[in-house]
Amino acid sequence: MALEIVVMVKQVPDSQEVVIDPVTMNLNRSLTRNVTNKADENALEAALQLRDEVGGHVTVVSMGPPQAESTMIECLARGADRAILVSDRFFGGADTYPTGLTVASAISKLEKVDVIFAGEESSDSSTGHVGPGVAEFLGMEQATYVSSVKYADGFIIAERELEDGTEVIKMPTPVLLTILLNANVPRRQTLKRKIAATKQGYEVWNLEKLGMPPEWVGVRGSPTIVRKMRPIKEKERAAKRFEIDQIPDLVRELFEIGALKLEEMQ
């Protein structure tokens, strides 16, 4: 059976070189390079592996501004069959709710979906809420924080990494899986594939295509707002300096302030 697979991807500012505008306290987007969210590359790789094994198609769906073009081409060059950029000025400023709604709406327009992949979270907002949100909008089963995926006879068998161990779970399709950062090694884009990808191109879907009211999406459709941003101030610490020969003084002080306690010693 061939699987129809969707991968949710996002273009994000390169976390290695984030520049904060000292006046607005916001990201200076003009100085920051954009890249594909790393965990989404792992999600795409997991999707491609599944397709290569079972057969089917991989469609990449991304909500973002026009410059996300480079991410769309990159996903095609890595081996995706189709790429859809959901883009419209109405989508700007969305929090996780309308982002999930917009992506879910686009996915619901596809003829058939068996498995949806997403990265565990995006490096710029780090919520991990959009993937599961999409699953809820579409009424689907989900597994988050997945490190490996297998498919057999209509079922996905996945390993899910929790704080205290690994869950091995089995679910029928359709299902949404969020893939851990570094869960696999994404395949490279070759020059040949890149040329083919550019030639093939990607689709752009706007709000009209989705047919949703404009007040449902973007900043107007967002229940949360950022009131303010402030630098995180760390507690001032004295950094009282001791040379090796002063260690006895330090030890005495640590006991006196109660940082060390005789009754806790073994």
Partner: protein
Amino acid sequence: MTGLKNAKAVENTDDYRNVFVFLEVREGKFLRSALEMIGVGRDIARKVNEKLVCLILGNNISKLADEAVEYGADLVLGAESPDLEEFRTLPYTSIVSDWVLKEKPNIFLIPASRNGRDLASRIAVKCQAGVTADCTELDIEHDTRILSANRPTYGESMLAEILCRKHRPQMATARPGIFKVPEKSRSENPEIRISKVKVDKSLKTKEIIEFRKKEKVDLSAAKIIVSGGLGLGKAEGFKALEKLAKTIGGEVGASRPAADLGWISRDHQVGQTGQTVRPRLYIAAGISGKIQHIMGMKNSENILAINIDPNAEIVTYSDYVIVGDVKDVIPRLQKEIDSYRKEHSGKKESKIASAS
């Protein structure tokens, strides 16, 4: 209730009262985050004279409900079924969102653990509400009863304050290890409502075939942590740290590269991708103090850095610094602590004797 629907502003926010907290249960016991949620939820609820409502799902939960009451729950809503023994997205979402839609809480806090986030995202959509992820500071504005949800952003360099003005409940997930475990404080008229539920077959699509438990050191509860980094030079460096930690009643921690090299197992790692800790004393030996490490330990009460470099970044985050080579410093520290103990353990007894 599924379908493509928008986030819906509520007509009258005054209809929404009380603070819901989701208490995470693993293997029949509360996770530490459960008590942290009670602590922060209780503070918020008492500030505006509202009820703290604790949600517990599991198989046998009556003891857990009693424990929540000891810590200050005004109301416990419980659901019991063998099918709820382990966390599964669909049944948990269904039961919890039913409670939310019926009881109309003003605020709903969930731990930002992996299962907590898995759940919170779905509840928010199901209840057409807003959710702020991974908060490290939470407060309520007295007059408006609006939740001030603060979360680190841009690689932990900035704190964003996020509000949800018109949608209810105001949901937030709270980063584990940040909020304090509260003292016990029983409420005046606590109420416990536990119902036995039957989980519908349509919600039982996820089968957990196996769970492979990690042997885990829980650093989040440690009073003292002695951590080592690349400055230890080799795996053997941790031997001396283990000895020191044992003497002073602490646990051993590590930087990520030390764990990457296999000098110590991953479950000792402190930081962004390890554990978040807040001991009374944190000793960082041969750790440079990169932000990803700092994030995991900066709330420690006292920080002692041991570093050969007097200008290492860790210094500005430290209360005390010993400048020197760990190979010399650790044995000396061990020796001085041992001799302090020898000198004072006698005295301490006499102090107790004279006090009585």
